[in-house]
């Protein structure tokens, strides 16, 4: 059936937002007049060409940046980094090298003001949920890339934020691992629903995970197209055989092409060719 | 043929060039082999008090003795060590330091007295300086450090007054600026050189008086030292150096102007305050002369009593007899 926005988590309202940065060559607009309504509990994937401002968008929702115009609201009020409404996992694991894996996850609880005796238990539970219970006492340098990414995810989830942001979380991993991780991510989300916004380059990943795929234009980024994904859940890791999935993927790809992103054109393209 | 002619010309010209590379202060035509090059080590830096050496160089006393003297400046322990090791032929050192060095198996010998009067004294404001060393009890005394002839003289004085180091308070001035301590009132008295500190204090408007050791606990003054090996191998060289130096000193004593002129050429610092420098030279002449100018002779008896004092004070252990430390026959061949 259709996508299943379970009403838990908070809604995110992005209203005519612009993000302008000063550079040596003059001010640069990463985003301009971007509006997007993310319903509570939905799984939204943002996709777009390089430099379209996807990461900037996530930072605005996380409260790490202020918009230069427009407004962002999480559950009705502007986001503030670390107040517990929004958790974010980055493209790199960003684990503190001198803490154990467990203490890295517990760091989120420490900064959230959770009492010391509670922290170890909750951190262990978060690690169990991502399958890392056995490496709790290792150092980050002893982990594989995939394990480190999972630890970063556990850290983002340990405080049970109603909104979870994921910035290309698995793009550094090989395709097979990524498929497995996507499936596990879906399982976690179905198990404890919340609003998720995930940024990716991968059309396959977008279709596999999303309720809606939001395609952004090249810089300055704004919403070019929203493709609703009505595949039933739970979805398998590998959707290559599924015709509906193929259709949706084609729609997304077409939308990406249509925004005339420079990198997506054939190298020897003559002017006006399709 | 051209290259050969050039080479031949070079071969003929070179010896002439070398011949004109004369020793300074010697009359030019002689080739350098006529003068024996020797090194003389004087104290910390050039000073008007070294006038006899400057005069001996400039007025040709050394050249007449067949010597080409190069003066270098070193601090005290290096002078003894370098002279002992033969890296320099001659040096100037304090008599009490020679006693200690010789006891520490540094083979130097004192061959000629430069200062017949011991230069160090206790200095203080007029009325504050006791006539008798026993009056030093309870006073605060500034001195450069717990070593050197100033320290030896102070302890000898205290002993003569029945006192020890514990009966006075010592303040050390490693920068040799104990006059500042006296001027500030940080100390009651200071040790200093009779031809130096009193003049500096008077220049600051402080009238001073002195307590000297000569009558109370006499010690020999500074003199010329040589390495033991050199003295044994070439006593004539040592004698000619000592005689030349003594002759120059006599000339300065007779007519200080010539000494001052020689010093002015060698000591840049004099230009900053020539009046004080001249006063220092005049005071120094008094110390060279002492009671009676003795042309470098070594007072053997005084050395004996001073040696005993140094032994009592614990500076030396008596393992090397005083006779081995001095060579009175150099300045006084009879």
């Amino acid at each position: 059936m259709g996508s299943n926005p379970i009403p838990s988590g908070l809604g995110v309202d992005i209203d005519g937002v612009g993000a302008r940065f000063p550079t040596p060559g003059g001010p640069l607009d990463a985003l301009a007049d971007l509006s997007l309504d993310v319903p509570a509990g939905s799984f939204t994937v943002v996709i777009g060409p390089n430099g379209c401002g996807k990461s900037t968008l996530l930072r605005l929702v996380a409260g790490l940046l202020e918009p230069s115009s427009g407004a962002v609201r999480v559950g009705g009020s502007p986001p503030r980094a670390g107040d517990g409404r929004v958790g974010i996992a980055f493209q790199q694991p960003r684990l503190v090298p001198w803490r154990s894996v467990l203490d890295n996850v517990a760091l989120a609880l420490e900064l959230a003001g959770v009492a010391a005796d509670e922290r170890a238990g909750r951190a262990t539970e978060a690690l169990e949920r991502v399958g890392l219970a056995g490496v709790a006492h290792l150092r980050p340098r002893e982990l594989s890339g995939g394990m480190a990414q999972r630890a970063g995810l556990a850290r983002a989830l340990v405080t049970e934020p109603p909104v979870l942001l994921l910035d290309e979380p698995f793009s550094a991993l090989d395709a097979l691992t990524r498929e497995t991780f996507d499936a596990e991510l879906q399982r976690l989300w179905l198990d404890r629903p919340r609003t998720v916004i995930l940024v990716t380059h991968s059309v396959a990943e977008a279709v596999a995970l999303a309720d809606r795929v939001v395609v952004l234009t090249p810089r300055p980024g704004r919403v070019a197209r929203v493709v609703a994904v009505d595949l039933p859940r739970p979805r398998p890791a590998d959707l290559t055989g599924d015709p509906r999935a193929a259709e949706l993927a084609a729609e997304v790809r077409a939308a990406l092409t249509s925004v005339r992103a420079l990198e997506l054109r054939p190298w020897a393209e003559a002017e006006g060719a399709a | 043929m051209r290259p050969f002619r050039f080479l031949a010309a070079l071969v003929l010209v070179l010896p002439l060039l070398v011949a004109c590379e004369c020793a300074p202060f010697a009359s030019c035509p002689g080739t350098p082999q006529d003068l024996r090059p020797v090194t003389l080590l004087l104290g910390f830096r050039p000073d008007v008090q070294f006038a006899p050496f400057y005069v001996a160089q400039r007025e040709g006393y050394y050249a007449a003795a067949g010597l080409d003297v190069t003066i270098e400046h070193r601090q005290a322990p290096d002078v003894q060590r370098l002279v002992a090791d033969g890296q320099a032929e001659f040096g100037v050192a304090d008599a009490t330091d020679v006693m200690i060095a010789r006891t520490s198996e540094i083979p130097i010998t004192y061959v000629s007295t430069l200062y017949q009067a011991f230069p160090v004294a206790i200095i203080g404001p007029v009325g504050e300086v006791p006539d008798d060393p026993s009056g030093l009890a309870g006073m605060t005394i500034g001195t450069p450090g717990r070593f050197g002839s100033s320290w030896h003289a102070l302890l000898a004085l205290l002993e003569a007054g029945g006192l020890t180091e514990d009966d006075v308070t010592i303040r050390e001035y490693p920068q040799f600026n104990q006059v500042d301590g006296l001027a500030n009132g940080d100390v009651d008295l200071i040790t200093g050189f009779r031809n130096n500190e009193p003049l500096r204090l008077e220049a600051r408007g402080i009238e001073v008086e002195l307590l000297t050791i000569d009558e109370i606990a006499p010690l020999p003054g500074p003199g010329i030292i040589v390495g033991g090996r050199l003295l044994g191998e070439d006593p004539e060289l040592v004698r000619s150096f000592v005689e030349a130096t003594t002759a120059a000193m006599e000339e300065v004593i007779a007519g200080p102007d010539i000494g001052f002129a020689a010093a002015e050429a060698e000591v840049p610092a004099i230009a900053e305050d020539p009046e004080v420098a001249r006063a220092v030279l005049d005071a120094t002449i008094e110390l060279w002369r002492g009671e009676e100018f003795a042309a470098g002779r070594i007072p053997v008896e005084l050395w004996g009593t001073a040696y005993a004092t140094m032994e009592r004070l614990g500076f030396i252990d008596g393992s090397v007899p005083v006779e081995l430390m001095i060579a009175p026959e150099v300045a006084d061949p009879d």
């Binding site: 790490l64 | 003894q80 060590r81 060095a101 450090g145 490693p174």
Partner: protein, 246 residues
């Protein structure tokens, strides 16, 4: 075990080379004493109590001077690292103070600080200060901005980020500075003593050199200083192994 063996072998080689230099160079003991001469003089100095009397004083100066200097330096380094304004204002003075030979300033400092143990500790602290402060500043600045953003996303304020990220990540570099600083503290104590003390290994050097013309005793004092320097350096390395795990 291997490490100790290698150290003993290199020490033996060094002593042998030293002995060879004195023999081949024909150097008398008052210019360069042979190792056994220094050892014998050292044993006498230990037995007479002279050596400990001076060593104890210098040890105290080093410990206090390093403690004061290192603490001030780390705090200053953090401030310099975190604030460009502070760095612009302070660093000209810090660099100029470092370039001036403290040996020249030390007598003045001795007077300003009243000439006792406090003065010695102050001069020693000043000499140890610079490398530690600069190392701290560089280490703090090198903190990973990606980790900084991650901490911000968890709600960490500037003070928390300094405590949780900047300082721990700077520790390896700070310890590099501490290694240099602790050996400078040994020199610093001697320089401080030369400015106006009456006891301490620096003074023993003076007494041996200028007063007693006892070169072997001077070398004993130098050897003790070298051993102290090695020992303190080793302590810093040990502390680094304990505190720095990355």
């Amino acid at each position: 075990m291997r490490r100790i063996g290698a150290a003993l072998v290199s020490l033996g080689a060094f002593l042998l080379a030293w002995k060879l230099v004195t023999v081949l160079g024909g150097l008398p003991p008052y210019i360069l004493p042979a190792p056994e001469g220094v050892l014998e003089r050292g044993v006498r100095a230990v037995n007479s109590g002279v050596l400990w009397e001076h060593t104890a004083v210098t040890l105290l100066e080093i410990v206090l001077g390093f403690a004061v200097g290192a603490s001030a330096a780390v705090l200053t380094g953090i401030a310099l690292g975190k604030s460009v304004l502070i760095e612009r204002v302070l660093s000209p003075y810090i660099v100029a103070a470092q370039a001036v030979p403290i040996l020249a300033l030390a007598p003045l400092l001795d007077i300003w600080f009243g000439g006792g143990l406090l003065a010695r500790v102050a001069i020693c602290a000043l000499i140890a200060f610079f490398p530690i402060a600069i190392a701290t500043m560089v280490g703090i600045r090198a903190a990973d901005p990606l980790l900084d953003e991650m901490l911000r996303s968890l709600g960490a304020g500037p003070a928390q980020r300094t405590r949780l990220l900047d300082i721990p990540s700077a520790l390896p570099v700070i310890f590099g500075g501490l290694r240099v600083g602790v050996t400078l503290a040994v020199i610093g104590a001697v320089v401080a003593e030369w400015a106006g003390a009456s006891t301490g290994l620096g003074i023993l050097i003076n007494i041996a050199n200028f007063g007693l013309f006892d070169t072997p005793l001077m070398f004993v004092a130098l050897a003790v200083l070298a051993i102290i320097g090695l020992a303190f350096y080793g302590l810093v390395v040990l502390a680094e192994r304990r505190l720095v795990s990355h």
